[in-house]
Amino acid sequence: MATPVKVYGPPLSTAVCRVVACLLEKDVEFQLISLNMAKGDHKKPDFLKIQPFGQVPAFQDEKISLLESRAICRYVCENYPEKGNKGLFGTNPLAKASIDQWLEAEGQSFNPPSSALVFQLALAPRMNIKQDEGVIKQNEEKLAKVLDVYEKRLGESRFLAGDEFSLADLSHLPNAHYLVNATDRGEILTSRDNVGRWWGEISNRDSWKKVVDMQKQQHSP
């Protein structure tokens, strides 16, 4: 039996969840090694050796150490093509190109404003950091413009890159989940007909439900 791959980082981290969701979709056995970021585990020398930017997650298998959640997801799909959801990263070059396009759209257009909102609305209060109303308003407007494009796209296509669920949709799950479940701004997604429909479908996948369970377990005593 192959050694489980290792993922370093807390299950509550959006980027860590992105990788865990991918590993679950691909049916790749893994071990999650949690880090206590409040205690600064991610800035300690031992961790910086495998992740020099001091960010999470980090990933290791028998052959390689990697960082950046979207790179890790792409590597997992390429290294385990026959396992789990074989179509997660497309089964032909044009399908893959469309998935890469929407993965980049997620990373460049969806992620910055949604991350900022999740931080301001869900995390800052918990960390006793004062919320910045200007930043919240600015990022709400930015995200709304992005979701207008998504609304049109998802009226023409079941999932972002085409008819099948892909890595591009998966990549949106962590931030969208927090927006809908940990802030009062969830309707930015759910009030749009097509985006709401899409969110309902992707968040009901077994892999994502397992990730949400893992997050809840971190909270239980």
């Binding site: 020099p52 052959k63 950046e68 070059p93 044009l94 893959k96 980049e104």
Partner: protein
């Protein structure tokens, strides 16, 4: 049929053009004037609904996001031109890693600096000096990590030039050129040597000559 690249005057389209040249792929370009707001024209938005640059057309096929475009062509034309994806799955993994590092750690601060220092005045806006300073500090910290990496490795993903290095060319050219911040590169010995190497590739020199 030849690949058409929109917006060659700007940085992100150049990321695509230098890749096409490395892979010996024929292409043509179509201008898009950001100052005139041509990226907001309905015809352009049909191709790139986010109103960003670039987009390519290849026959009936349309694709946007420069880093998606370069991945597609580097893979499609694997057997010609420069190998840009490494040779093994592990090397490919490292190329993907450093492409993502560029996209999420390097690009955000250097993009803010580009908008403030090169485009704000053209758009009739005042420069946000605080934001420039903050972005420069952020970029400096990223370059410190690069300095350490490049002291052990000739290129970012290993001893081979790849999409990861290539992706840095356009905005770093702005940094050392019109932004007048060449010291950020030169103050770091290994980053400096790496920059000299990649920016002197015939493909990049061709891009600067043409656009």
């Amino acid at each position: 049929m030849v690949v058409k690249v929109y917006g060659p005057a700007y940085a992100s389209p150049k990321r695509v053009i230098v890749c096409l040249i490395e892979k010996q792929i024929e292409f043509e370009t179509a201008p898009v004037d950001l100052i005139k707001g041509e990226h907001r024209n309905p015809e352009y938005l049909k191709l790139q609904p986010f109103g960003a640059l670039p987009v390519i057309q290849d026959g009936d096929f349309t694709l946007y996001e420069s880093r998606a475009i370069i991945r597609y062509y580097a893979e499609k034309y694997r057997s010609q031109g420069t190998e840009l994806l490494g040779k093994t799955t592990e090397e490919r993994g490292l190329v993907e890693q450093w492409l993502e590092v560029e996209a999420h750690n390097y690009h955000p601060p250097i993009y803010e600096m580009t908008v403030q220092l090169l485009f704000a005045s053209k758009l009739g806006l005042s420069v946000d000096e605080k934001l420039v300073k903050k972005s420069e500090e952020k970029l400096g910290k990223v370059l410190d990590v690069y300095e350490e990496r490049l002291s052990k490795s000739k290129y970012l993903a290993g001893d081979f030039f790849s999409l990861a290095d290539l992706s840095h060319l356009p905005f770093t050219q702005y940094l050392v050129g019109p932004m007048e911040k060449e010291y950020m590169i030169r103050d770091r010995k290994h980053v400096s040597a790496w920059w000299d190497d990649i920016s002197n590739r015939p493909s990049w020199k061709k891009v600067l000559e043409l656009y």
